[in-house]
């Protein structure tokens, strides 16, 4: 397990107290994460037992779903691989239909440490933002990465920041917290394939308030990254195209609760 670094974190107790009676859920997308999924679930519970957990198993061929179910998590087992976007949206649909007020996204591979949740939860709990993203690159997080990867990350950060007219440093971070408004939007519409970049743009375009906070992420504990070098060109082209076309779409603010709670 990687050690936690020196990021200023608001007192956990304060955040936990604010969580209070909120109906809250952790959405954990997983693809072949039998090595880490158990620990991720334990860590979420160690942070706060009040979080319900839904593991979205995106067509794993290992024991991911079984391990998650044994630990008492809700498990949504997709019949085949939908890709991270389809899996995340499944989690948000679950959260929306079950009437959750607050959702956090935590990857099943162990790179997101639930102990880092307080800074991400803080702005959402305070009602200051609708979506809060944990950034590896925002000031004070000190992230190391390969050169090629940095270029791509920089490019996306630049493009996304320009489009949303707000500084965004870590567009591919899947470590997020959203309120009910965000849950409703993402349940209704979530980008496909490689969704985080587009989800960031989409949130802002839908007039959701978004903020980044610095967090430290760990090295992946198990599984393989969904973005291999071979696919990264395709990935960049596809996401840039989506962002570009998105500029010409008209967006509506998501409808207030259609479903009864």
């Amino acid at each position: 397990m990687a050690e936690l670094a020196e990021v200023p974190v608001p007192p956990s107790g304060e955040i936990l107290a604010q969580l209070g009676e909120l109906k809250r859920i952790a959405i954990v997308p997983s693809l072949n994460e039998e090595a880490s999924i158990g620990r991720v679930i334990d860590e979420i519970r160690a942070f706060d037992r009040g979080f319900d957990i839904v593991v979205v198993d995106d067509g794993s061929t290992d024991r991911t779903a079984g391990i998650a179910a044994d630990r008492g998590a809700n498990v949504l087992r997709l019949p085949f691989n939908l890709g991270i976007g389809g899996a995340m949206q499944t989690g948000y649909r679950f959260a929306f239909e079950r009437g959750y007020d607050l959702a956090v996204q935590i990857d099943g591979d162990g790179q997101h440490d639930p102990a880092q949740l307080p800074p991400i939860l803080g702005p959402v709990l305070a009602g200051e933002v609708d979506v809060c993203v944990g950034s590896r690159f925002a000031e004070g997080s000190g992230y190391q990465s390969s050169f090629a990867r940095r270029i791509g990350i920089r490019l996306f950060a630049y493009v996304v920041s320009a489009v949303v007219r707000q500084r965004v440093t870590d567009t591919t971070s899947g470590f997020r917290a959203v309120n009910r408004k965000g849950i409703a939007l993402f349940a209704a519409d979530y980008p496909h394939d490689y969704p985080e970049v587009e989800a960031t743009v989409m949130s802002v375009k839908h007039k959701l308030r978004l903020r980044e906070v610095p967090v430290v992420m760990r090295q992946r504990a198990g599984g393989a990254s969904s973005i291999t070098a071979f696919r990264s060109v395709y990935y960049m082209a596809k996401v840039l195209l989506a962002i570009f076309v998105g500029l010409f779409r008209r967006y509506a603010v998501p409808l207030e609760e259609e479903h009864h709670r």
């Binding site: 019949p79 085949f80 496909h192 082209a237 596809k238 195209l241 076309v245 779409r249």
Partner: protein
Amino acid sequence: MTPLPVSIAAAVASFLLLLIVFELIRSRRLRERYALLWLLTGGVLLALSVWRGGLNTIASWFGVETYPPAILGAVGALFILAVLLHYSTVISRLSDQNTILAQRLALLEQQQREGATGSSR
């Protein structure tokens, strides 16, 4: 050299293709992942029809001295083949997934019937 009207017609046609693909994506009738090849097709054809000297050079590489626009047709055909092949793989995947869905539905319905009769006892 390529006759000018041919270049203009080809340029207009490929530009229209790009425009239509763009509009299809914008109105969410075409997903980005399935549009990339079409955009590449339109882009390459547009480039070849506007860049007339280049088309000439490429034609001479292949010994096509009399009528360079034949290269346009050949490139277009090649891209269409690529798109079709790509769609064949997409259809194959969809049909596999469809089978899985139908099987899962059948199993679920059976489970549900079992549950219904079980509770009415």
